[in-house]
Amino acid sequence: MTLDTQFTDQKFKLVGSRPDRPDGVDKVTGRARYGADASAPGQLVGAILRSPHAHAKIKKIDTSKAEKLKGVKAVITSADLPDLTNGNRGNYDILENCMARGRALYDGHAVAAVAAIDAETARRALSLISVDYKVLPHVTDVDAAMRSNAPIVQPHVRTAGGEPSDKPTNIAQISTFGHGDVEAGFAKADKIVEKSYKTEQTHQGYIEPHACLATVGPDGQGELWVTTQGHYTFRNLCASLLGMDIAKLKVTSSEIGGGFGGKTHVWMEPLALALSRKANRPVKLVMSREDVFRASGPTSSTSMDIKIGCTNDGRITAATATLRYQDGAFPGIWGMLGAMTAFACYDLENVQSVGYDVLVNRPKVAAYRAPSAPMAAFGVESTIDLLAAELNMDAVEFRLLNAAKEGTKASYGPTYGPIGIGPTLEAVKNHPHMHAPLGKNQGRGMACGFWFNFGGQTCTDLNIGVDGTVNMTVGTVDVGGARASLSLIAAEELGIPYEHVKCNIGDTASLGHNDTTEGSRGTFSSGMATIFAARNAIEELKSRAAKTWDIDPEEVDWVDGEAVAKGVEHSNLGPLSLAQIAKASPNTGGPIAGHSETVADGAGVSFASHICDVEVDPETGSTRVVRYTVVQDAGKAIHPDYVEGQFQGGAAQGIGWALNEEYIYGEDGRLQNPGFLDYRIPVCSDLPFIDTEILEIPNPNHPYGIRGVGETSIVPPLAAIANAVSNAAGVRMDHIPMSPPRIRKAIKAEAAMHQEVSAG
């Protein structure tokens, strides 16, 4: 049966309602099991020794004393992880990031690991490992790393997308996007604003540290219980790095205590497996919060130059962006993503964005919710505000005048279908928040944001029990309530109550491959696979009803959870409910199931516009967000509570990024604030209620019109808050986070300049 992915404007009975989530009771009673909550008989405790140096050659590692300590069952170094990557540089980088191979590339880089009978013994064992380092010069700043005399992080790297050269460089990649003739465009401009911006490195800050329980036997079979956004991806990668057969490594995703992109990547799981293999005992390995900050997935710090020109009547004639993103110690594509997303909100005739991916001695950068888009949006949306001010034009009107729409050629290339940037801007324009009065020292700002969203390989199995309840297994991880949404979809399709569906996250042994739950794809992709699986099950249900009635399956319809015989000649046959058909299933052909293995491609791009009011204390430079509104296109909100939750959570993360959060490196290249005390994420008393408005502009490539909602909400906040702070404090803020010292400094500098001007 061919299954159409096209949007059909189906009328819903359940989708769009707000039932209790199925994993709610487990999570409020403490029963839900996360990464660190599993145990196995005879398990050992793993621990990792990390480099205290930002950059060093590892001359020698002596593990002999640690090995002799009573209770130590395995000690590993890179020698225990032979290179099986077969020329795959991406995999080699992952292997080297998990465990240093002859050189430590950042403060916190793993150099050795132990497994012992308890945590205390494991800690003592680490202190007995001696590592002979030759400290090398390091670089942690993105601009400094681009200079020709900078210490080289990866000697093999040459610039992709640049002039061919044999000279080692920290510029791993230059990516250019755009169209038209920007020089000619700027020549036509009446007003041009050009400005440089910086943003500091932030961490996803999931509350649950990385944790796993690994078991590998001498027979080459293994199991891994792990907190992850992609257990299939972890399985494939771990098996490949350790030389195991994919089929013989079963990976189970635990409940996940937040990921935001940081759990799309293996950090220490291969080490747990290697320790277990060596000790032939289960090994539990849990990162400390300090390890999480020093050695797992932060996002890039950046440095940017933005230039935008427009005519006096407010039409943008040209725009350029030069975006320098650091990737940490291994090449990534983060600058490229910044360049792709920077101008995606606008309809531009002449546009060029250039992204630089730059290596520094910091941890390997990982995806963080709409990766790379928030920083570029900060630069672009700040510049847009400056230009609107130059024109004396309302900032929303200026954006509306230049907003992308259906048929616009996106700055990253393709032509847009139906999109939501215009409608989100209209909603902002008409929102009461936009017209509410402001108090003393308060300012209002708004900004737009874009993210692609993705689909990918996805499986759903749906098994109907003899009592008519439905057991559904999906392969995407539930990071924020997806089981509720997917249960709604299954119940909607089958025409049964929501409570009759039980949704499980399958382990890697129970379903085919599922791509990682990233790119806002959970509800989009598994939603699609669930629709298909349910429709397949309905075909089977109809055929069972036909058998019961001894009529042709073609003569059976499925209406509101019941099989109905079509036509007047069958008017004597009463409908058969799903439960009735299920009850008879042992005698009509056995278990009834529906399944779908699909590639859910065609995820719809999504846009958001945010409004923010802040109050800045001019004495201390301290900023308080007093009101915040998120408007975003969801395509279709399946369970609106959890769509709102995504909007609010993204906004809160953006607020932290904008005002507080930053990695602080010392001159010695060591991270100075690897803890929640000094790396301060927003707490409850920092924030107001976050208002949301869900727009539903259907994605034409999904039966329900779903676009994916998880990521876009973190894109506008940096810029919206920067615009608000700049309006409140009367000075343009160009460096994120806008911490009190930075704001005070900017206010003082502005005052000094005014004094000079008035004195002169």
């Binding site: 209790d20 999570k27 009673t29 403490g30 205390e120 803890g675 707490v683 924030l687 209620f689 976050i690």
Partner: protein, 167 residues
């Protein structure tokens, strides 16, 4: 390794355990008593995911030693529901969608209960400050504050009804 023998009460039940003197209450609860509802998010008292009460006082279990609970009353999230009846906070958290990933939820429930026990009618600001020691990275706290507020309202209505019945 010399252990410390500790007799205490956890969620109303008498419990005995032996642990090294340096072991945190959190490790005792999780690794010795099998109560994994309290989570370790930081180990330094900054995130509140390990919030429990000791003699009614809200504490971070990661900052107390197991040996310190000798003869005291420890309450964890596992003891919050009465039989098959969820505590109103637990129910309101579910109904208000006040959790996404849920890792911080046990800590928030314990902190919110400690608040409502001493202040049955908190303002929004009081709720926000009472919960400021608990980090949540998913929700932006919006629905958490609403759930606590709704619980306070529910409990005060219950109290009024009971009160009027008495009269």
């Amino acid at each position: 390794m010399a252990g410390v023998h500790v007799s205490t009460t956890v969620n109303g039940d008498d419990v005995e355990f032996v642990c090294p003197g340096s072991e945190s209450l959190l490790d005792v609860l999780r690794n010795r008593l099998g109560l994994t509802g309290a989570k370790e998010g930081c180990g330094t008292g900054d995130c509140g995911a390990c919030s429990v009460t000791v003699d009614g006082q809200l504490v971070c279990a990661c900052l107390m030693l197991g040996a310190e609970v000798e003869g005291r009353q420890v309450q964890t999230v596992e003891g919050m529901a009465q039989g098959d009846q969820l505590h109103p906070l637990q129910r309101q958290f579910i109904e208000n969608a006040a959790l996404q990933c849920g890792i911080c939820t046990p800590g928030f429930l314990m902190a919110a209960k400690a608040l409502l026990d001493r202040n049955p009618d908190p303002t929004e600001t009081e709720i926000r400050y009472a919960l400021a020691g608990n980090l949540c990275r998913c929700t932006g706290y919006d629905k958490i504050v609403r759930a606590v507020s709704a619980t306070a309202k529910e409990l005060s209505q219950e109290a009024t009804t009971k009160g009027s019945k008495k009269r």
